[in-house]
Symmetry: C2
């Protein structure tokens, strides 16, 4: 089996730069010299054509030929025939529901986990690489048939991770409080990935990339831990049992 | 059929006052002189005993005898035997999943919509009074069997509604952007209810109560509208068809 290669980007655009600017160099390094074609997945947003045009233009600047999955009649074949894929951000529930409705979950898993196709995601596209979508910040605007997702990595991600604002009088839960609630119900570790940061996974190795921002690690029953760019997450890659089996859901 | 009576509170605690302090007077007025016993529902939080103790103490100060549903063997009978109910805040997904797992959805609907039992909710407890949980801010830490909820009112609520922060460089979606995404997929109106505010529904009449804070109304295809305490939401009470049928979900 080929080696798994996954690049999970927290966010598509980092203030004050443009679309994918903050991660373009990392994407090029990650994809390497053999990748020529990229399959873009626009399903997290409503306007597929507009989103695809934006992504194609950005990947062209990086030197890649991108096509959007929504332009293909046979979408499973499109996943099979491209060298790599990039799943864009937007609403995680809408993205996962669309992949489920179009029967694309298993083919993507096979391509990435068995055949080593490089997978890149930003925001929602990174969330669905996790065992489930249980730690998304998005609004549940549509109902997927299951919260279980691609399971390309054995940990959960919290994209756009934000520290609590100590001056706020707002009583909605902070991000850390929400993740503590997740751990009241589930035992998967969670990576709180701030904007500008990413996780590069090759085989069973994972490393933090991006700007010099604190990444917060939440493992059930342990105090929060902080790591920075260049640190490994190899300890988060050791799932005791298949993560899909360890998640509470109704089916 | 008795008249529907529903009080939807945005949040349990408003800075800088204590638990339910900002809405206690409205609750007492809403319940009226005939209500003696209140059934509390603690399922949105993990610690049922602790949550119940806090709620019982607070309702005792208001002059009511509260019991917590988790203390009863026969929970459906508990819903039937109390004069009113209050569903506390916490995680909306956990709350809805628990009510579904315990087969409490239909009995609560009957008690409120047919028998006129007063229903009060705060935060998650208000979210589940809507047609679905599609506009919650909470993290999907567990998977309910359906996103459809109690449907006690024909509109969606966004509790803890927050205006966008114009100084923020964070690229996560604002609340208004999230609600616009909801309207890309669904056509139910949404009330953006800031902390300190509540909606009182009697029969087919609804009125805004609480502090003097702007309530934002989002109807699909219309510009955002603003109303204040004392304004009616009667126009939001006119569902063209049963709201449960108008929501996209997978079942």
């Amino acid at each position: 089996m080929a080696q798994r290669r996954v690049l999970l980007v927290s966010n598509s655009t980092t203030h004050p730069t443009g679309y994918l600017d903050h991660c373009a160099k990392d994407m090029v390094n990650f994809l390497g010299p053999d990748v020529k074609t990229i399959l873009f997945v626009p399903y997290a947003l409503k306007d597929h054509d507009g989103y695809a045009a934006k992504a194609k233009e950005r990947f062209a600047v990086m030197g890649f030929k991108a096509a959007s999955i929504h332009e293909f009649e046979d979408q499973q074949a499109a996943v099979a025939s491209h060298d790599a894929m990039f799943v864009g951000g937007g609403n995680t529930f809408r993205l996962l529901k669309t992949l489920q409705d179009k029967n694309l979950i298993q083919i993507i898993r096979r391509r990435v986990l068995e055949q080593g196709m490089p997978y890149m995601g930003a925001s929602a596209g990174s969330n669905i690489a996790c065992p489930g979508i249980f730690t998304t910040n998005d609004m549940p605007i549509v109902q997927p048939s299951s919260f279980l997702a691609l399971g390309l990595v054995p940990f959960q991600l919290n994209a756009h991770y934000l520290e609590p604002d100590p001056t706020s009088t707002h009583k909605g839960e902070t991000r850390a409080e929400r993740l503590a609630q997740f751990h009241e119900e589930n035992d998967l570790p969670v990576v709180g990935l701030p904007e500008g940061m990413m996780i590069e996974v090759v085989g069973d190795k994972a490393v933090l990339r991006g700007m010099d921002r604190d990444v917060r690690l939440f493992a059930p029953g342990k105090p929060m831990e902080t790591r920075k760019t260049g640190a490994t997450l190899d300890d988060f890659m050791q799932a005791a049992e298949p993560a899909h089996k360890r998640i509470k859901h109704s089916e």
